[in-house]
Structure formats: structure tokens, C-alpha cells
């Protein structure tokens, strides 16, 4: 019966996405229309797109599982680290919006007059996001194949065709479908929390249910700080890799640029914070509640805990919404990343190298082909992912942080030269690779390669120009 329910909800979701995604096709005659929705998104679509992009399938599936396993203190190295990145976005929005750019790497061309930097950042983003899209497709494929009891290849192909379709219409399509995805994510997580609490027997039962936490006591599980405190380096690693990764993530920079005005961009970040906290709280309730429902679940991967709870512990037809909210999170993140990946490849790598001016419609048509190629490549990789790709995905945000953070924020707030920006991004990446190779794998969660490399990137950025010469912009 559950499969039929899931199929039915999935069919409804499909129809809505097909209708919403279609509208983007009509508004994509110009590059700014295709990549940035004409820089004309009003407040609600901006918030919806921002939040829908923020939550990936990994967040919605992984975080409840991590909380189930690790307790409340997990929040430090996950939700809080991510949310810290949003502070950076406040600083980013007011300055970045004034630049008349189509893509984030183009900012580096205009700010530093460096085509090399534009191409390099384009390459970093193309590769990083390709890997991340593979992870998205793979994660989603595993969950859906388990829930619908269909082969993994079928389920990854499903996400592939959805992501492809919603990305073909450019940011207009992405933003429009993101409104729907955002509603599903908000509704799905809140509903999930309510259903879990309901299944336990109400809020009072939740409080009394803490006593049943297996071998770990309620105090230790609910403590904000684990016994003995959180290791300093673990916290710092999480902040540098996740927080700075978020702050420098072009997905959010694109949302800032696509807003109707600077004022809308600022409001978007401010109001989105409220929704993000609300969703994180719901996920937190789901994680804790799942533990009360069944404290003795044993899985090799924490991602499987939430699907298990949905499938076996919740007895309600509403659980179809919970599944589809995970689908929404996966597709909204993947299509956004695919669009940035393709735009970086076409606009920031091939066009500067070709040095030939092309008509907007030709570039858009070319971008669609690149989207198709990249999505297909991600799909093929996701069919048989090479060993280590999942582990490597943990480094995507770290690489983005060391490559982009200083040139992006420093470019906006200091008078740093092109030379410093190039030194910072190349030096940071090189330091990251070295740290990755030299730091033993077992201690990398605590001593993440981002720690030394971000210091190197910052040092190189301020080496001769910028702060050392007291040349910060007066704001």
C-alpha cells in the first residue's frame, strides 16, 4: 500500500513541477533572464529559492539521523556552523548587489580585471558542483529506491529527468519550482515533527520518553555540549569548512544578485534566517522524537534512519508528503547547482577562452546542452560512483571556502590587488591539497584540511596589499 501512496504523491508532484517548470522557458531570451531571472525576483520567491536551495536531501535525511545518533550537541557542527555562514551573506549582499554581473566568477573579472581568476573560479565551481550533484543524485537515489522498492538506477534516473527539466528553463524555472519546493520542505518538516510527536503520544510523552534512551542517559543526550566539551579543532573545522563554505557559496550569491533590489536581497537573508531556524527546529524534533519512538535502531548509515521512521514507524497517509519534501530538497539544490555549474562552464570558462562574442540566445542554447551533458555525466557517475567520492564530497565546501572566500569578501571590502587574489586562491587550493594528503584520514574530521589552507589563503591575500597597507574601503 505504501508504494501506491508514494507513487500517487509522486505523480502529483510531477504534474506540478511540469507545469511550474514550463513557465521559465518563455522568459529566457536574455542571459540575465536565464542566469539571474532578470534580476527581478520579488521578496517571497527570493526567500523560497534561498531556503529551498539551502536544504539539500543530505540535510533533510542526514541531520535527523545525526541527531538521533549523536544527540543535541550535533547541532554545533551542523546547523549552527551552517547558520554562521549566513552572517557573511549579510555583508555580501549589500556590496555584491551593486555589481552588474551575470555570474559570480564574472565578479572576479570585473573586480580584479583578471580573466585568469574568472576562468579558475569557473573551473573550481564546475568541478565542485559536478561532484556535489553526483552526491545529491546518489543520496536521493538510495532513499527513493528503498522507499519505493525500485532499483537504484531507476530512482537516480528519476531525479535526473526532474533536475534536467527544471534547469532547462533557467533561474526563472528554478525559482518558480523552488517556491513549490520551499512550501513542501517547510510543510514536510513541520508535519514530520508533528507526526513524530503524535506517534509518541503528545508532548508530555516526549518528555517522559527521554528516559528510554538506551544506554545513554537523557542528560548526556540532551546536553548542548557533550561530556568533556566539544573539541576546539572540530568546532573550528566545522566553522571553516561549513560556515565559510556557505558564506562563499555562489548559490546564495546568485540569489542575492537575482533579487529585485539590494533592499530585497537584505530582507531575503534576514527573513530566510527565520525559516531556516524553524526548519532546523523541526528536523531537531524529528531526530529526538525518532530516538524516543525506537531508541535501538542500528544502521550503517545515519541517512537511513529518517526513511525508516517514515516507512515503518509512522502510520498515516500524510507520510507521502514527508517523502516528497525530501525529493523537493534534493531537486531544488541539484538544479541550482547544475545551473551554476553550466553557467560557470559556458560563461566563465569557454566564452573568455573563445574571445568571440555570441548572441544571447546562442549562449543560452549552448548552456542547455552543457546542462544536459553535465547532468548526464553526473548520472553516469552516480550509477557506479568511484570509491571515495562520498568522502571527497565533504571537502567540496572546504575547497569553495579556500578558493573564493578571501577574493570574494576581500574584493568587496578591501582594495586588494589582482596579484593577492590570485595568490590567495591558488595558494589556498594548493595548501588544501597538501593538507588533504598529509593529514591522516582518521583525524581529518577534527583537523580538517580547511584549517591550514584557509590561513594560507588569508595570509597570501593580505600579504602585500589589503589590510597590511591599511587599505580597507571606507564603508
Amino acid at each position: 500500500m505504501d508504494e501506491l501512496l508514494y507513487l500517487g504523491v509522486f505523480l502529483l508532484y510531477t504534474i506540478v513541477i511540469l507545469i511550474l517548470g514550463k513557465h521559465g522557458f518563455d522568459k529566457t531570451d536574455e542571459l540575465k533572464g536565464y542566469f539571474l531571472a532578470g534580476r527581478n525576483l520579488s521578496l517571497f520567491p527570493s526567500i523560497a529559492s534561498f531556503c529551498a536551495t539551502w536544504f539539500s536531501a543530505a540535510s533533510l535525511l542526514g541531520l535527523p539521523g545525526l541527531i538521533y545518533e549523536g544527540g543535541v550537541s550535533v547541532l554545533w557542527t551542523t546547523a549552527i556552523a551552517w547558520l554562521l555562514g549566513i552572517v557573511g551573506l549579510f555583508f555580501l549582499s549589500s556590496k555584491l548587489y551593486t555589481y552588474n554581473v551575470v555570474t559570480v566568477p564574472e565578479f572576479f573579472l570585473i573586480r580584479y580585471q583578471s580573466k585568469l581568476l574568472q576562468v579558475w573560479i569557473g573551473i573550481v565551481l564546475s568541478i565542485s558542483y559536478l561532484l556535489y550533484v553526483v552526491i545529491q543524485i546518489r543520496g536521493f537515489g538510495i532513499v527513493v529506491s528503498e522507499m519505493l522498492e525500485v532499483p537504484y538506477m531507476v530512482s537516480v534516473f528519476l531525479i535526473y529527468i526532474f533536475v534536467l527539466y527544471t534547469t532547462f528553463g533557467g533561474l526563472h524555472s528554478v525559482a518558480r519550482t523552488d517556491i513549490f519546493h520551499f512550501c513542501l520542505i517547510v510543510f514536510g518538516t513541520i508535519l514530520g515533527a508533528i507526526l513524530v510527536v503524535n506517534e509518541i503520544g503528545g508532548v508530555s510523552r516526549v518528555v517522559t520518553g527521554f528516559a528510554s534512551f538506551g544506554d545513554r542517559g537523557a542528560d548526556a543526550y540532551l546536553a548542548l555540549f557533550p561530556e568533556g566539551g566539544l573539541p576546539f579543532w572540530t568546532l573550528l573545522s566545522a566553522f571553516f569548512s561549513l560556515g565559510l563554505g556557505v558564506a562563499a557559496n555562489p548559490q546564495y550569491a546568485v540569489r542575492i544578485l537575482s533579487s529585485r533590489s539590494k533592499h530585497v536581497a537584505l530582507k531575503m537573508i534576514f527573513l530566510s534566517t527565520f525559516f531556516l531556524v524553524l526548519i532546523y527546529f523541526s528536523i531537531f524534533v524529528i531526530g529526538i522524537g525518532s530516538r524516543i519512538l525506537d531508541p535501538d535502531l542500528q544502521f550503517t548509515n545515519t541517512d537511513e534512519i529518517y526513511p525508516y521512521i517514515i516507512t515503518y514507524l509512522l502510520q498515516t497517509p500524510w507520510k507521502g508528503i514527508l517523502l516528497i519534501s525530501v525529493v523537493a530538497a534534493a531537486i531544488s539544490t541539484a538544479n541550482s547547482q547544475l545551473l551554476i555549474m553550466a553557467s560557470s562552464f559556458v560563461y566563465d570558462i569557454t566564452l573568455p577562452i573563445r574571445k568571440q562574442k555570441s548572441h544571447d540566445s546562442k549562449i543560452i542554447s549552448w548552456t542547455r546542452w552543457v546542462i544536459f551533458v553535465f547532468a548526464t555525466l553526473a548520472l553516469l557517475i552516480a550509477f557506479t560512483p568511484p570509491k571515495g567520492i562520498v568522502q571527497f564530497s565533504g571537502h567540496v565546501w572546504g575547497i569553495i571556502a579556500v578558493s573564493l572566500f578571501f577574493p570574494l569578501y576581500g574584493g568587496l571590502y578591501t582594495k586588494a590587488s589582482r596579484k593577492n587574489a590570485l595568490l590567495s586562491t591558488f595558494g589556498g587550493c594548493l595548501a588544501y591539497v597538501l593538507a588533504f594528503l598529509l593529514i591522516p584520514k582518521e583525524i581529518q574530521p577534527a583537523y580538517h584540511p580547511v584549517l591550514p589552507s584557509i590561513v594560507v589563503a588569508g595570509f597570501l591575500f593580505f600579504l602585500k596589499g589589503g589590510r597590511f597597507n591599511a587599505s580597507f574601503y571606507r564603508t
Binding site: M1, L4, L7, T14, L18, F25, I161, H359
Partner: protein, 560 residues
């Protein structure tokens, strides 16, 4: 979007691609359902038949005496009860299932009340165990969403959805790509229709299909249209330049719409409100022949003349063209020539008459004087003859003036300061002015003229006398001088009785006078002197308010 070509392509295509997918899915579901139903039915039926055979065997054994009837019945019932949902009605009419007696009144299917619905199909299989007089009932339910069908058909559904999604996405992308060039063409045509700047048509030039042909043709058409528009613009600009450069006012009058005026027409109408009113109120009679009229009226006390032409154009009578030209200057010149010609004729005639009269008059005078000397006349007679002599002298004076008027007066222009001349004349005329209660005003101007000094004195003197005569009750007489770079205009203004237009037309004619004591030659002489000094004379007068004479002379020698 509602009426877009994309939707017209999309909707039928969607139906075409979704319908087979839906039909295949539905047929597959239906056939699976049917085979599942048949399989269940056959299994149940076979089971009932096997029970029947088993009961028949046991009945044989009871008949052979190898088994008691009670044991046989117990065995059969045990077999029946093993099958879940199977009912048996024994020879007593007792209905049992799973070893328990069931109230047959509570069973819908037994009472024939159970009916199949859209989603659930119900059937009861019946088998008679004739040897025992028992009846077996096996009620069966079949539905699409229960049992093993969803598991069996999950992949069919999934593949249907899957292929449906792909088909829909392909259809959407295909219809978008098919309709895009048509939309581009429509946008292109809209831009042409709006007449603004036309953006490049975003269709590949290498395209060879109908869209390509249409796009190439449209581009060529727009190019030709642009070239023609440029030519038309040029011609239009040229026509406008010509129309706006001419000094003739032109009006295109179209029935039922605003008239169109050229620049000259606007300018003339702005300066002359009466002309504007007359032009706007003018109704053209339907004639294809050109009609001509002279319009005259006063603007700021000055009479102006317009030559007006009009005719209907195009033959439909809806449009007419009207032109008007300011001919005031020309008309004044004509009047001046006419007046001068008239004065010349009159002068010749007067000169002839004067000559003819002068000689006999001299004889009459000599004879009269001789008679006075020779005849002894009484005082009365002497007074009469002396009066005769006085009249003869008066007549002689008239003849002298007439001869002076008719004989050419050579002018010797020199630079004359107007203020000096006027001042000396005011000294001369002061006494007479006081007698007539006329106040003389001179507006100093330091102006200099190229004119014969004596002629100017005579001109001004005549006009002053004329002015003072026009003010029997006294008044003000003002002489002023102003001018442009080349000309100076002296104005002599009185606040007298003024003149009507009819009088003004004749005042320069010899012997025309409104006063009994006048000779009618003063202004004629003034006119002649002005003309001989290369000047112009004009007069504006309002009855009851006064008169102003305008004397315009060149200010420099070379202008003469």
C-alpha cells in the same frame, strides 16, 4: 499564452503521448487484474472440486463400510475448516466456517445483497457435495489496490509514470523549440507594426525550411521597407523644408479633421489675430478651380493686405488647400505708384491750366491797374477794383503754387539733424500754436537723416499746420524720431479729429481738402517732397483720436 501556438502544439501532443502511456498502463493493469482474478477463481474452484472429490471418496468408503458416516463427516468438515473463508451448509441447513456456526442472515453475499462496485468485485463460488447433500460457499473479493496486484503492477505503474514524464518533458521542450521561431517571428512583426527600432530576428540564417524562408523574406522586406522609409523620410523632409521655407501661408483643410498649417501660416496667424480668425472660419466652396481674393483689415491701426488663393484638391471635395500671402508692402507700393501717377497727371493738367490762366490774368491785372490810374473812381469803385486786384493776386498765388507743385523740385540731400530742424520750426510756430491752444512736444533723438534741409522744413511745416488745423479745440502735437540701422522715421502725431479710411485714401490728391480755406495742395506737396528725397510717407488715423504721419528717410548716403 492562452492562444499561443506553443499551447496549440503542446496540448494535442501531450494527449498523443500521454494517451498511449495511459492506455498501455491501464490495459496492463486490467489484464493483470483479469489474470489474477481468473487465477484466484480457478484456484478456489479447483480447491472446491478437490474437496468434492475427497467427499465422494469418503462417501464410497462409508458405503463400503470401511468408515463410519460420523468419521467421514468430521474429516470432510476438518478439511473444509482448514480453508480460510470457506463456508459449508450441511443437510440441516446449518452454515459453518472455521468450525463455527454462522448466522446466514448476517452474510450479505449469502442473501444476494453483496454487489460489485467500481473498485471491488465480489463473487461466490458454489460447489454441491451431492453425496452428503452439503453445499460449499467460497466468497471471493477482487480489487485493484489490494492483494498482490500492486506488487505485481508496481513496475508497470512506475514505467508508465516514468515514460509519461519523459514524454511530457520531451513534448514541452519540443513544442517550445518548434514554437520559439514562430514566436520570434510574431514579436518581430509586432515590432515592425509598432514602427520602433526593430531588434535582430533571432533565427539562424542557414535555416532552409519554411521558417527560414519566412524569416529571410521578412528580413528582406524590413530592409526594403527601411530603405523606402528612408527615401520617404528624405522626400518628406524636403517637402517640409520647402513648405516651411516659403513666405506664403499654406493650409490643408480636411473635412472632419484638424487643418494642417505650414510655418509661415503659423507665423502670420500668430501676428494677426483677425487673419487667424478669418482663416479658421473660412469655408471653401466646392470648386476645383483656383479662386483668388484680397483680404484687408487693420492691424495696430495699419492696414494690411493678404492675397488669398484656395481650391479643392483630390476631387472628392474633402480636402482643400488654401494659401495666403502678406501683400501689404506690395499693395502700398502699388498705391504709391498709383498716387504718384495720379499726382503727375494732375500736376501736368494743373500746370497747363495755370500757364493758360496766368497770361490772361496778367493782362487783366495790368488792365485793372491801368483803369485805376486813368479812371476817376469813387471810393466805392476804387475799393471794388482793389478787391479785384487782391483776388487776381490770390489767383496768381494759386497758380504759382500749382506750378511749383508740378515743376520738378531738385533735392540736395545732406546730413540733417532732425532735432535742429524741429526746434527751429517750433520757434516759428510757437505763436500760432499758442493762439490755437496747441502744445508742441519734441522728443529729442539725436537722429540724422540724408535729406534736403529746406525740403524737410517744408514737409514738417506743412504737416504741423495740417495737424494744428485738425485740432480746432487745441491739443498736443508731438514730433518724434526713431529708426533702424538704415532708416529713420519721423512721426508727427496730433490729437485732433482724425480721419476716416476714405479720407486717408485721398489726402495726398491735389486740391483735395476738407477745409474751406485750404488749397488742397499742402499734403500733395509734402508727398512729392518726400518722394523726391527718397523717403516714404504713411499715415494712420483714428477718427476722434488723432492722426500720425510717418516719414521714413534713409540715414546714410550710400543707402540713397
Amino acid at each position: 499564452m492562452r492562444h499561443s501556438i506553443e499551447r496549440k502544439i503542446l496540448v494535442p501532443f501531450l494527449i498523443i503521448v500521454l494517451l498511449p502511456s495511459f492506455i498501455i498502463g491501464a490495459v496492463s493493469m486490467w489484464s493483470s487484474y483479469q489474470s489474477d482474478k481468473q487465477f484466484k477463481q480457478a484456484t478456489a474452484s479447483e480447491h472446491l472440486k478437490s474437496l468434492d472429490r475427497y467427499a465422494e471418496n469418503l462417501a464410497n468408503r462409508v458405503q463400503n463400510g470401511t468408515m463410519s458416516e460420523g468419521d467421514a463427516k468430521a474429516l470432510i468438515k476438518m478439511m473444509i475448516y482448514e480453508t480460510n473463508g470457506l463456508y459449508v451448509e450441511d443437510e440441516k441447513g446449518e452454515l459453518t466456517s472455521d468450525g463455527e456456526v454462522t448466522n446466514s442472515a448476517e452474510l450479505d453475499w449469502y442473501n444476494g445483497e453483496a454487489e460489485s462496485s467500481w473498485f471491488v468485485e465480489r463473487k461466490v463460488l458454489i460447489e454441491q457435495l451431492e453425496d452428503w447433500n452439503w453445499t460449499l460457499y467460497s466468497p471471493i473479493e477482487f480489487s485493484f489496490y489490494s492483494g498482490s496486484l500492486p506488487d505485481i503492477q508496481k513496475y508497470t505503474l512506475l514505467i508508465s509514470i516514468f515514460t509519461g514524464i519523459i514524454a511530457v518533458q520531451f513534448t514541452i521542450i519540443l513544442s517550445y523549440n518548434l514554437s520559439k521561431p514562430i514566436k520570434n517571428l510574431a514579436d518581430f512583426c509586432k515590432q515592425i507594426a509598432l514602427g520602433g527600432q526593430v531588434k535582430d530576428l533571432d533565427i539562424k540564417e542557414t535555416r532552409k525550411d519554411e521558417i527560414g524562408v519566412l524569416s529571410t523574406s521578412l528580413k528582406e522586406m524590413v530592409q526594403t521597407l527601411d530603405e523606402r522609409n528612408i527615401q520617404i523620410d528624405k522626400i518628406k523632409q524636403l517637402n517640409e523644408t520647402i513648405l516651411n521655407s516659403v513666405h506664403v501661408g499654406m493650409v490643408l483643410i480636411t473635412k472632419g479633421s484638424e487643418s494642417v498649417y505650414n510655418k509661415a501660416a503659423h507665423k502670420m496667424m500668430n501676428n494677426d489675430a483677425i487673419l487667424e480668425r478669418r482663416v479658421k472660419q473660412f469655408t471653401i466652396h466646392e470648386t476645383s478651380k483656383r479662386e483668388e481674393e484680397i483680404w484687408d483689415h487693420k492691424v495696430n491701426e495699419e492696414k494690411v493686405y493678404y492675397a488669398v488663393n484656395y481650391m479643392v484638391i483630390g476631387g472628392s471635395g474633402k480636402r482643400s488647400i488654401m494659401t495666403f500671402e502678406d501683400i501689404t508692402h506690395r499693395r502700398k507700393l502699388e498705391l504709391r505708384v498709383e498716387r504718384m501717377s495720379r499726382l503727375a497727371s494732375l500736376g501736368e493738367m494743373a500746370s497747363g491750366i495755370a500757364h493758360e490762366i496766368r497770361n490772361p490774368l496778367a493782362g487783366i491785372k495790368a488792365t485793372t491797374e491801368l483803369l485805376i490810374r486813368r479812371l476817376e473812381l469813387s471810393d466805392d469803385q476804387l475799393t471794388l477794383t482793389e478787391n479785384m486786384l487782391l483776388d487776381i493776386d490770390r489767383l496768381n498765388k494759386i497758380i504759382t503754387n500749382t506750378l511749383q507743385f508740378s515743376s520738378p523740385m531738385n533735392a540736395a540731400p545732406t546730413v540733417v539733424r532732425v532735432d535742429d530742424v524741429v526746434r527751429s520750426l517750433f520757434v516759428v510756430m510757437e505763436r500760432i500754436a499758442n493762439e490755437k491752444n496747441v502744445r508742441l512736444h519734441q522728443v529729442e533723438s539725436n537722429a540724422e537723416l540724408m535729406v534736403d534741409r529746406d525740403h524737410l522744413r517744408q514737409i514738417l511745416l506743412n504737416l504741423m499746420i495740417n495737424g494744428m488745423s485738425a485740432m480746432p479745440e487745441g491739443g498736443d502735437l508731438t514730433i518724434d524720431c526713431h529708426g533702424s540701422e538704415n532708416d529713420r522715421t519721423i512721426t508727427i502725431t496730433d490729437t485732433g479729429i482724425g480721419m476716416s479710411d476714405d479720407v486717408i485714401e485721398k489726402i495726398f490728391d491735389p486740391f483735395y481738402t476738407t477745409r474751406a480755406e485750404g488749397t488742397g495742395l499742402g499734403l500733395s506737396i509734402v508727398h512729392q517732397l518726400v518722394v523726391q528725397n527718397n523717403g516714404e510717407i504713411d499715415v494712420r488715423s483714428t477718427p476722434g483720436k488723432g492722426t500720425t504721419f510717418y516719414l521714413t528717410f534713409p540715414s546714410r548716403e550710400e543707402e540713397i
